[in-house]
Structures are given as C-alpha cells and as structure tokens.
Subunit: 378 residues, 2 copies
Amino acid sequence: MADTPRRPTIGVVGGGQLAWMMAPAAARLGLPLVLLASPDDAAAALVPDVIDGRPDADGLRALAAACDVLTVEHELVDLDTMEALEAEGHPVRPSAATLRVANDKIRQRELLAEHGVPVAPWTVAADLAGIEAFADEHGWPLVLKRPRGGYDGRGVWIADDVDAARAVVDEVAGEDLLVEPKLPIDLELAVLVARRPGGELAIYPAVETVQVEAMCREVVLPAPVTNELASRAEEIGQRVAEAIGSVGMLAIELFVVDGEVLLNELAARPHNAGHVTIEGSVTSQFENHLRAVADLPLGATRRRVAAAVMVNVVGEEDDPRDHLAAGLDVDDVSVHLYGKAARPGRKLGHVTATGPDVAGARQRATLAARRLTGGTPA
Amino acid sequence: MADTPRRPTIGVVGGGQLAWMMAPAAARLGLPLVLLASPDDAAAALVPDVIDGRPDADGLRALAAACDVLTVEHELVDLDTMEALEAEGHPVRPSAATLRVANDKIRQRELLAEHGVPVAPWTVAADLAGIEAFADEHGWPLVLKRPRGGYDGRGVWIADDVDAARAVVDEVAGEDLLVEPKLPIDLELAVLVARRPGGELAIYPAVETVQVEAMCREVVLPAPVTNELASRAEEIGQRVAEAIGSVGMLAIELFVVDGEVLLNELAARPHNAGHVTIEGSVTSQFENHLRAVADLPLGATRRRVAAAVMVNVVGEEDDPRDHLAAGLDVDDVSVHLYGKAARPGRKLGHVTATGPDVAGARQRATLAARRLTGGTPA
C-alpha cells in the first residue's frame, strides 16, 4: 500500500449529492477535493476543481493523475481501470476488490455467507426452470434481482407467480437473476461502518430505514429496536466491513425478519441512510468517509442528540427551492437541497429534525419535506 | 423596502472565514452566493462566484449588480455607497445606518444609552486634559479606544497613568478617543441575535467568551452564569438589535462587572462568539444570517447539546493542516480549518467539542487546538 501524504488531495468519482455533502467536510479539514463529474453536477457548485469526464479508463486516469487518493460516490466505475491504478501504486479507497463485491449481489452472498453473515435463502437462476424450482421449495411470491446496477428499486421485481417471473426472465434475456423469497419483513435497518486502510473501524449505531416504492424515504436514529437487535446489526456491519476489506464508508442494509437480522444490500460509500449523521452524530458519515480515505483518525460515531429523523425530499412537479419559506417555517428542521432540477421521483434534498424523541422529530421532518414539495401545509 | 425574491442571490462583502462558513449553509438552502473578495480568499474555495474587488464604490456597485440582497462579513465597507444603493432600492442587510452604529463605538454608546442599554461610564477626549479630567473622577487605569476600525485588540490601549495616556494621544494625533475606566470584569458574555427585515427576532442563549491578549480564544455554551444573568444579557441583545434595526446576525459583547451586565462592543454580522452554534445549536449563526438576510423564517436557536466549547486555532509557526492527524486523534471534536496561510497570531481555524458537560468539552477542544498548532500532545 502506498503511503498517504499528510494532506492528500482526494479524487472523488461522481458529483451528485454525496460528493456535494463531502465538500463542506473536506473544506473544514483542509483536504483538497477534485471531482470526476460534469460541471453541471450538484457538487460542482461547491468544488471548484472538476475534471469533466466519465468514470471510464480515460476519466479515471485523469482523476488519478490529479489526486493522491481516489474514492467514489457511486459504484458505476470501470473496475478494471481501478484495479490497474492500484497495481500501479495509486491508492484506491475502497479498493476495486471491495467495489466488485459491493456491485454484485451474487458475489456478496457467496462471500458473506462464508464469513457467517446471515442471509435469506437464495439461488441464482438464468431461466424460468431455476426460478420454479426455488419456488417449489420456498413458495411464491419471490423477489428477482439483477445482480448488478440496480438502485432505488430499479432492477428488482416482485414475482407473484410463474407468469410474472417469465416476464422478468424475458426482460433480462438470459442474464443471471438473484432469486430470494419475499420475506415478511418486520423492519429494515442500516448500519454504517467507517474503516481505515489499516483496519481501524468506527461503527455508527443502527438506524431504521423506511422505504416507499423501494426508495429510502425516512431514516430514524436510533433504530426503534432492542439493544440486542441493534448490537446484532452492528456486529454484522463489522463482519461485513472486515470480510470485504472496505475502506471509507460502508453501508449495510439489513432486514429484520422474525427477530433475525439478515443482509439485504451493501454500498461501499456514504449512503442515504447516513445523512441523518450530519445533525444526529458527533461526526458525519461524510467527514468519516474522508478521514478514512485519507487515513486519518476516525471521528466518534455516537449520537449527539436523543433522536434524529431524516426524510427525503423527493421530486414532484415543483422545485423545492420555490417553497423554501414554507419548509423553513417548521421548528427545528435542517433543510438540505441538492441544487438539482426538479423531476418526479428524483431525490432533490432531505430534511433532518432532531429532538428529545423520535415521534416529534418525525412529525417535523415529514411536515417540512411535504411543504418543500408544494404539499398543503398541515 | 424592496421585496426579496423567493430565491435571492446573496452578495457578501468579504471572503474570509465568515463567508467561508456561510457557504455550506447557503448551498444547503439553495441560496446562490456571490462574493466581493479576492480569488485567494478562504471562501473562494467554496464559492465559485467571486467578484475580484474591494469594498469601495466600484466593488460594491459591481456586487449589487450581481445580487438581489447585499450583506457583509466585515464592516470595513464604504458606507456612503451602501447608503446610495439603499436609496436606489437595493436591499442592503444590515443597513448602512446599522453599520454606522456598529462601526463607531462613540455613536453606539450615545444611541444605546438612550435606549436604556447599560454601559460603563465613558467620555470622549481628543486631548490629555479630557482624559485627566475623566481619571480624576474614575481613577487610573483607563481604557482608551479608537472609535472605529479596531478589532482583536487593535486600537485599544490600557493607560496606567498620565504618561501612558500621553503616548496614546500622541499616537492618534488629535483623533477622538473613547475613554472608559478599566473595569474589574468578572467574565465576558456574548449574545447573538438574528433579525429579519420585518423585525422577527431569534436570540441565541448567552455564551461566555474568553479573551487572551484581547483576542477571543474560547467560547462556552451555555455561559456559566445564573439564569437571571443570562436572561439579562439576552434582553440587552434584543434591545440593541431593535435600537439599531439590525438585519442578519448581530453579536453583542458584554462585560459582567459586580453582577451587572454592561455593553462592550457590537458586530453587525456573524461573529467568532457564534462559531459554537454550528455544532451546539439547532441552527447555526451562519444559516440564520442567510435566512434573515433573505427574509426567510428564522431557525431555532436552542442548544442541540448539553454543552459545547469552541477554541480558536491561532497561528504559530506551523500550518495546522500539517498536524491534522494529531488534532483529529482527540475524541469528539469538530475541526474547522479555514485554509489560510499560517502566520503567528492569525486565526487559522477553530475546534468545537460537544458533550454532557463544559469541563470535558473544554479539555478536548483545548487539546485538539493545541495539537493543531504543533503543541506537544498532553
């Protein structure tokens, strides 16, 4: 592993809201950022140093030449080039190997089941016969997932019966599908883990994530579960981080089913489930991502408040910036608007409320988020 | 008063650390910023839109042409031009009239004493005779202040006797001096007030400020005083804000002498005493400055934590960025480095620690700040 300079320039692949939220943390720590992004991307408004390009071989090599350490805000990068850069001695954090696991839901299950991480029953099927065989054992409905490239519900289907499964098989045209039973989920959790190159870890307390139409809509800190269940989730977080050798932030999404915690998905980067750490925790996930990637001591992951709830501002017709006054006219909310053009279904921002209890924080964050999308004041 | 557009572009005079800390707050709210500054200034690293100029007539007019609302991060601006811009209908917040009072310690005392704000005994003297007459009544030592342009102890002298006073009179060569007794100060407080154009106010709980060599070194939230004394300070804050018609943030520095709260100085902008609000309060002073200036509802000023202590990182020989790892290796501190070149005596950053009690937070913030300037780890 190459040594990290004392004050490394950090190259970030991507310029969306995750890079946008890294920017103030990097500025505070005096760590220069350079982005591989479009000059129109959200983060370019806060980071003057932007390489206009895509995460292909040319783009990644240009970024590597401009930075000391390379990291990502999304996983859709050319991993062969990332691997080649590593082989040439360029620090890539997380590594290409970690990203390969995070990017591939099948590889994830294979590797993590070996490391004792509990996962739901699963199989890989490339045709209807394989899916039907799994259904014979576990029953319908099933969840069918593309192993790569899905997010916010894209690349995931619920098949209630064999006809629905056939339609998915036809759509993916011979690609492998990950097949799982549709579980009776009690609730969903996420655990965030920051990890340095040498293995030092910092684990955030588990949060509850609430999905609406397969998109994360709400995050609750602390998760409303027993200490035992939260500890179990946090242990899984640590086990996963160590198994895949993550560096930087790692988000582990988990299902709680019948009192058991099961792996759902991974993301080897800051994650929507961790936005609540900006106000709710001593150190935000964005700051800890940069500290980990720059191989600096990690910050405390403890809660700074009794309760914090984050609600996403998801685009409808209106631009939330046109409703800022209404959104801010709610006591004790922190509004984050990403500066992206409004489009139905697009994540345009989020609101976090903190306070002595979850119920009050949720009510305030929900009200502000609804007002920002032009909803009737309640 | 001109109407403020729904999403105003805010023009900021200055590009130092105060504008630098406004930038993330502005980004989160989707409020575009434009700075009148040098492209080398700290804030230019986070704000792409910089008008390279000085706060003179040309600079201010260029800034006004590029923004909907004009504000300041320092008071050394051409007030005649600010006044002319107001007369032409351009929103200037705070107003030139407010800045004239904030800039002039004599005018301040005249106006505020009329409004019932308690001030120490004072006089204005342009020669030694006037100073001696005041000393006959109040005794030596005296504090002599230039009415305008001083900060961090510049333009302030302690005169122990008539010879020392003569040296100051000679130095200022016939300028008026504000003369006050050197008070037996128990401690110093600051109160921060956000105020909108229509008069809506939000007052932060009083903080204690600790000065070293006349420069603010440490700020403690909440101030270690009785509720009665804190309320008295906050009442004075409100009275001052209303008397001078401030818009945006106003910082009121106060002395506690013999259980009485007395006005010391004003600043009509975010202030070093309010950096602690970033981690310590529901809404930071920087966000509330922008909300006030943009005529948006103000955010809650309540504490988010039991205790928060800020310690300034004041330059010695070393660049604090070279000691980042040591500074971050202290539990529960938030490090803010302004990206300014190191110079002895220059404010290069600050550290805030939060926690259940002031003593622990102070210890951690002090340790991290000392390490960042190359001090021996304790």
